[in-house]
């Protein structure tokens, strides 16, 4: 029969300080449970708050402006080159493009078909940021027609508010492209007329877009400016609700559409709560481990003479350390297994009773919870093994 713990057990004062041993088991169980629940909750939050914003090609596109408040109302609200470089460098931002505005005057009128006249504005952005890009959306000097992409929201406002109030005709998405608007551009001693044609509608970008080539050319000609700071920037990100993104934007007083990121803010708060819970769990585990280490130290101190004599008779300290710790492995495995089982039961109850119908949420616990449980088990056994080994080699 191989030598095992039961042969050496009579020589160890194992039953001393039973209360602290049992308390450490209880503490370890509670700590592991808290930590595993926190991990599972974190995963649940991410699953439930994923895809809460409309994504295109897997990305969110968000317009960013600078906060305008009562205190800074008179200041500069444009993005400096430094601001733009900072945005570009962030790992959670996958692309960034400034919106260039017109720096000259534009008058628009609809002619006989649309009898209205108004001051007009246009903006331009890198084509890669457009959700709809018809082949006709391009311009070169000499072209009389300027292709325009209008925000779907603007188009809706025109059709539902503006047109009925002014007795103007309404348009469908296909008929709008047949309408030409006269655009008079002037400034810097020049005045020219162009024909504006709506070639597409954009769900993504809330503005009136013209080709970048036109606006750069026209800003130089009519506005006599070629480089200026944009006041609006579009960013491309995989997750508009990423708490890091929101934190970065908040720190730099950049303003975004709250609706696009509201789940991110909820997520931020929930993640903070869950992190607190996990931190508390870790603290309880550490305290339980300390308590158990006191028990082990006391057991070894009380069994000191016997252990010294066993070493003298030929027991190897390495073997003794391993054998003593192996004795507690079943206890540790049971504690962690119970914590995993309770976490699994809570997850099942949460899914089936509170989140019924949310198919994206699994009623099973995530594999990472098992992985963390296994890791905790290994760490606990390893720490205690090291402690016992150290104490025995000192004898």
């Amino acid at each position: 029969m191989a030598l095992s713990f039961k042969h050496i057990a009579p020589f160890l004062h194992k039953e001393n300080n039973k209360a602290s041993r049992l308390l450490s088991y209880f503490g370890l169980g509670i700590g592991v449970l808290l930590l595993l629940c926190a991990v599972q909750l974190y995963i649940n939050i991410n699953v439930l708050l994923k895809n809460k914003s409309p994504k295109k090609e897997g990305y969110d596109f968000i317009a960013v402006t600078k906060d305008i408040t009562d205190d800074n109302i008179a200041g500069d609200h444009t993005f400096s080159a430094e601001d733009l470089a900072g945005l570009k460098q962030q790992p959670f931002i996958d692309g960034m493009a400034p919106l260039i505005g017109n720096k000259f005057m534009i008058d628009a009128n609809g002619g006989k078909m649309l009898p209205f006249s108004t001051d007009f504005f246009t903006e331009a952005i890198d084509n890669s940021f457009l959700d709809t890009l018809p082949p006709s959306f391009q311009w070169k000097p000499g072209d009389a027609v300027i292709p325009i992409i209008v925000s779907s929201d603007y188009f809706e406002i025109y059709n539902t508010l503006f047109a009925p109030s002014r007795d103007l005709p309404q348009f469908s998405e296909s008929t709008i492209s047949s309408v030409f608007i006269q655009l008079d551009c002037y400034g810097n001693g020049f005045k020219d007329s162009y024909k504006g044609q709506v070639v597409a509608l954009s769900d993504r970008i809330n503005t009136v877009l013209v080709p970048e080539d036109f606006l750069e050319w026209a800003n130089k000609k009519y506005g006599n400016v070629s480089v200026f700071n944009p006041s609006r920037v579009y960013i491309k990100t995989k997750d508009a609700n990423n708490p890091d993104l929101l934190q970065y934007l908040g720190q730099h007083h950049f303003h975004v559409n709250k609706d696009k990121t509201k789940f991110g803010r909820v997520k931020q708060v929930l993640q903070a709560i869950v992190s607190g819970l996990a931190g508390f769990g870790v603290l309880v585990i550490v305290l339980a481990m300390v308590l158990f280490s006191f028990y082990l130290q006391l057991m070894i101190a009380k069994s000191r003479e016997n252990l010294q004599l066993m070493l003298m008779l030929g027991y190897a300290p390495q073997w003794l350390s391993k054998t003593v710790i192996k004795n507690w492995i079943p206890v540790y495995v049971t504690i962690v297994a119970v914590a995993v089982a309770v976490t699994a039961a809570l997850q099942w109850s949460f899914k089936e009773m509170v989140m019924k119908g949310k198919d994206e949420l699994s009623s099973m616990i995530d594999w990472s919870v098992f992985a963390i449980a296994a890791l905790l088990l290994v760490i606990s056994v390893w720490i205690n093994y090291r402690l016992v080994k150290k104490l025995l080699y000192r004898l």
Binding site: L3, M310, L311, G314, A316, P317
Partner: protein
Amino acid sequence: MLCCRLLFLLMRIQLQQVVPTYIEAEKIERSQLWNNTVVFEPGRKIQIVAPSGSGKTSLIHFLYGLRKDYNGKIIFDNASIADFTADNVAVYRQNNISIVFQDLRLFAEQTVLQNLEVKRQLNPYHNNSKISDMAGQLGIGNKLEKPCKTCSYGEQQRVAIIRALQQPFQFLLLDEPFSHLDETNRKKAMALIEEEAAARNASIILADLKPIEYFNPDQTLYL
């Protein structure tokens, strides 16, 4: 044959100019062991005789790897015992060397049987029935279930002797092993020890205050 010879050479203990760090110079000069080269080979009976205070117990502890407060070297299996790691020392004590301490070093709270089993199970040379046989042979068969602390010193000395015989060894160190035994029990114990050593082709290294009449050593060394 050559292999056996090599193994034989390896499994010997060689003392190379060993001198305890604390011993007086005049004792070193008189000694046949201190500051000399001495070889202990398996299968021999060696008697070390010395009065109190001349370092008998120190020598036994040095050979057993229990103390390192000496100059010179004690070589076993081509390695200095003083350089053994704690785990190497354990292997050495499990397989190659056994001991009867002068102060016995038993587990006082445990029974005689537990004291014997804790050694036997470490590296069993005999099965557990042999313990009863040996205990019966030395007259402590009825003490096996008694706590050691309730046994007389003479009985405890016999427990220590039986404990030392539960493992394989090439060297058996005996430090005044019969100091509390009457003549009958001394002879019985000596006979048992010689029988067990012969079965293992092991050396007996017996240290005592004076030569023991019923021990016929191959070599007697005076410390």
